[in-house]
Symmetry: D3
């Protein structure tokens, strides 16, 4: 049990961080374990409410992951792959949108509101938020998978101004009105850029970005220079699901987001510790 | 083909209606054929965009109907009935929310935006819009079926002020954070009251409210006094799906909505004709 | 008699024009038959009220024409000419101002208000709107005839912001406080420029700008390039009262007005058709 | 020639008056000699500009008087009388409006602007300022002579807020759109009431209100109780052109105007002395 | 050393308090040890900065105490007493004002600014903040000792709105412009009332309000009913320097301040613990 | 005794000056006789209230002078000099701050408020107004004497906007939080620059800037070119206490202050005459 004085010291120690981030926009990519484990979910969302209360403007972009797969199974849609890449056909897209915009999004909003915050959920269709296009791939047609073309952040600014925490499902629309599924990491990066966010934080299910192994031990990078990243991808040191994350980081840095972090979402309060303390958590990607 | 002058005359004839409704909020319950027939849907949504453009503030509340049933079938949820009333269990509610908030709601938003309007979709969770409770029924437990307790219209006002057309899915939350399915007619009536709307229009799949038959012909009421309604329900003249509609009308009238209409949504442009002309369409319910 | 559906179609067809012109300022030079024929006057002013109601900002500049001549006769002022140009002496100017600012201007304001609009009338003296100087003419002294030096649009913006339709009499003042009579076409062009208007429409008593005759038939230009105009004036193809109109068009185009039209004011609803339809009406002058 | 110190003392002495009247609306009925004598006119208008500059909100209502008669003669309109009261027919009204709204009003505006102020001229038609009706007279039809029904002060507030000095011509419109001539004293009183003015000042061509003669000398009242006035009119002590003035005073007092003064407009700077000093000038009418 | 998780738990635990006090005004009487001990001073002021940062509006009223006495000695002013009460003559008042408004006030402001806050210091003269009168005492003339008549909180609202922490020296002025010394406890209570503060916290040099001794041990009241206080003073249970504190509490409660606390200023972070935790600290005085 | 007309003429003559200075900021360095002579003080402060009332934004910077010396004597602090320059040690600085910020500043505020104005007093610590540094002097350490580094005018703008007259004591803080004494002339110049003031007026105890003697008579410059000043200082023509004044003038001119005046504060109403008349008073320094 902490003494009253210890508690007070912690609160006081948070002072400079609160000062530094007052009025700043912070985009959080929320997904993985932190989303499916109810205990972690509660901690993350309370951390975000605290950020809002002390004057920051958090914006949540969530993914879908395993929950989508469960629902695709329920309706007997078999995943189809071409060259190892999943193809999103219309039936799949329909289910994906319902899960992202109708289930996960509203569930997060509801929890935040139950914990005393004020959230409002949107997808990329609302207010024309995300104009997308089909992801270009020279050789393959992956179907209704999209990439961000432009963000119209008007509706987000409107919600922030009125005191809401915006919660965004990564759904976009192209010029023909087709619904497209976009990787939430990319949406977070693009949104960070469009909102001129101060910070982008990607919650992942690993400790951060690894730089290979040494003596059988994964080497965590606490700081990574943007200009090293292409080489690391090329060498296969950064690979798999970490690629969209680092590309999202690069895109955000390029559009002027000042701080970009890949953080371990499996640890309790990793978000809060990243914001309010100088504990070294995860990997910070910096502009070259 | 109309002459230029005929066109001009129509536009000029709309003048007094535009003057009368400038800045007024108009809540539209949107559902039935007008929602499932793509051609009608297009006409209705364009009518609503026109209302917005000429200075009115339309707010859409949509239902779900047959689309929900299709999806319940897809996931093999068998409807369960007690005394002829459907029971909404958790699995059903989960699907209902996904269809309403994730599919129908976003589909309407997308179409309005494609037609040049600016819409944003919400459900009753967003911004704490709809606080509900389980529907009280002395004898039966119908599960997660709700009724409106209070509306917090803050987020709707915010969207209207910024020029968006709000599109609302009839989902509420109770004090325990449980998701509840609410009849869209009731949501429309309660929202009309909370927004101090000028007009409430319920689109239906009949011509209006009938007062029984005469010589084998249904008698359409063009005007109905609120105080006659309980008696008409009691006698079974008004029955079935028309009951929530007239109860919604009564609730709205009581909270100060000035004009309440039940209109045939199957006819092209019925909404626009109701607003911009003095054609007699459907049934107007008036305060006693 | 049009069917309800035909009416609805016309209203819907107006939708894209209303969208395109929302919040845009449109300067209308109002004069000729459309001003002296009570039936036409009523139609024009109702068209302008409609424009205001659907979100445009119309500004009216009116001329005087035959009404001024009638009053000069009543007070026995004989028109004086030098080299065929009318000379405006002080007595004439006094009468001209009373007719323009005290009779025609207030008459238009009154009619708009009677038809349900909200107008306010000004001349170039009010709020220091029009600073003018005596028209320079190397050889002749035409007296109190002026040309616009600068426009101070502050009072117009103020009236627009408060929801009024400004109605402007073409009277200016020079640095010495002398009242000067200015051709209303020029005032409309200069005002369009100063207000950064989206559109300038000059109502005339001909179909538009003619490009000479062919087979005894006047050839109407539906579209004219600004850079051809000096040549057409030089050749005498454009001449007489059309010269101030095209010069006004050129001045407005130069100051950034995007669309400039010379339209037949003798036809019913020509203004409304020009704004709300794609009927080819009159002549559009375009920037080279 | 005053010394610098004497000048400074005068300015300092004005301090409490400036403090007391900051932001207060002051309605001035302007007419008589002060309007037709160019030297006096200049002094009065400069006094009003000074009032505006030091933070008061002066509003001018002007009359017409002899200038109207000159113009009626020019167009050969013979004044017609019934029982000694002038009848205003349509031809007369047309001329009256042109002189009031087109000549006198714009002349005052122009002079204020030339002296460095910012004025804007309106008549009762502009912005629907004055709704009037034909003056009721049991026995006689005096034609187009009106009395104020209601004032819509919106446009005046708009001009005051933007820093203009409103100048009002006493023309009203009735529900049928007919132009009516209203006595400027009554307009000033009604406007004072509608604007919740702090002060109403009527400039006249006498020293103030006389209470009869004593020893061949007119007795000037420096202070008069509102409730004595009906009796004084009845006795004929107050009569002729002073009647509309005192009735205007009574109307203004009733609507809450705090100070009402009848002041000698023939004396230089009488307005300024009334406002900025405690010199006893003219007659103050006080609420009983 | 606390673990990261323990730190996070403390921050999260503060969440409901931050939510509850957002935008609320909290008046803090600052004096005693917490003001003269540099280490405590630093902690108190950092606590106040934290309160401001997380959205509360703290207002500081400081006393003078021993620092005043030191300066009176330096200028050889001997304290004069009548019946045991100090008399404040003009020379004393002059020194008191300089110390309060020129030394202590500006010292607090400077420290807050050095710690990253934004403070601005005022005394009761600035913006006419405190209108006072000489303290009434039937038998004695205590000289320039005052009591609050009215507070004009305009300038405090202005500073709060612009993001400053107002720091107030307890100096008042009476109608004759005489400077009066007022007990800071009373000023804090009156200011709390005038600002409709949510909370008034009086920092003292004891643990709280004692209710006599028991077994040689002082009995601290953790909660005291306002209506018991007069009796406790009468009995001498509450006495000495605690009397102005409890009277200040009563005055604030009466004017609608919701929470009133007497807290031990000698303990580190007592302010912060009172605000952000549910630790029982000092005495809460509640409305009967 | 002046006649009413003479009074009116004076007020009218002030008109163009009021017009020219409406909304303009005017920084006044207030010190010398005008501050210690109660009669002059009253006149100066009333002049400043008048300036505020007629729409200017006066800002007062005051010095300390003889009053500081009196208090240093009272506490037996002996002035210490190095090379003829006074050294400000900590004990001196403590007393200087109390006199400037706690006595003189609050005294001025109190008088302005007693005369019907609304003043608020600040020193350079409040709102972080003056960031200073120790005055650099190659050879000597003069102790806590400062020079302005930057001005953060936010709090001054806030007070002006709310209608207060800001009164500033010339105290600054350096980055280490040390209190520094700054010559009030320099503060006035720097503040004039930071506020983009229209005018800087330095009240002195001489007639203005002298250009040496001729025939035993000091030659007053009524106008002095900024670029001549360094030469005049170098020659010793401008010397002593006039040097900070002219350097303040140069600094202000460089930062864009349009008019800079050195004026005789010993003459009654010299401020008011400088502002409201064209009397030649003191010396105007103009940009080369």
């Amino acid at each position: 049990m902490l003494t009253a004085l210890e508690k007070a010291d912690v609160l006081t120690a948070a002072l400079p961080y609160i000062q530094a981030f007052a009025g700043k926009t912070i985009v959080i990519k929320y997904g993985g374990h932190a989303m499916v484990n109810p205990e972690l979910e509660k901690l993350v969302l309370k951390d975000i409410i605290l950020m809002k209360l002390v004057g920051m403007n958090p914006v949540i972009v969530h993914g879908g992951g395993p929950i989508i797969d469960q629902w695709l199974q329920k309706v007997n849609i078999q995943p189809r792959f071409v060259n190892g890449l999943r193809v999103t056909d219309e039936a799949t897209m329909e289910m994906v949108e319902m899960v992202l915009a109708g289930k996960i999004n509203k569930g997060i909003v509801n929890l935040i509101n139950q914990f005393g915050g004020r959230a409002a959920g949107l997808c990329g269709k609302d207010g024309g938020l995300i104009l997308a296009r089909k992801k270009q791939n020279a050789k393959l047609d992956l179907g209704l998978v999209g990439e961000v073309v432009t963000i119209d952040p008007g509706i987000i600014h409107c919600l922030i101004r009125e005191g809401y925490i915006p919660v965004i499902a990564p759904i976009g629309v192209n010029g023909q009105g087709e619904t497209l599924n976009i990787n939430a990491d990319y949406v977070a990066g693009a949104l960070g850029g469009a909102l001129k966010a101060h910070k982008l934080i990607l919650l992942t299910d690993v400790e951060g970005i690894y730089l290979g192994e040494e003596d059988g031990q994964k080497q965590l990078a606490s700081r990574l220079n943007a200009q090293e990243i292409p080489q690391l991808i090329h060498k296969g040191v950064i690979r798999g699901g970490m690629i969209p994350k680092v590309e999202s980081c690069l895109a955000a840095l390029e559009k002027g987001v000042e701080n970009v972090h890949v953080v371990d979402g499996r640890k309790a309060h990793s978000l809060l510790l990243e914001i309010f303390t100088n504990e070294g958590i995860g990997t910070m990607v910096v502009k070259s």
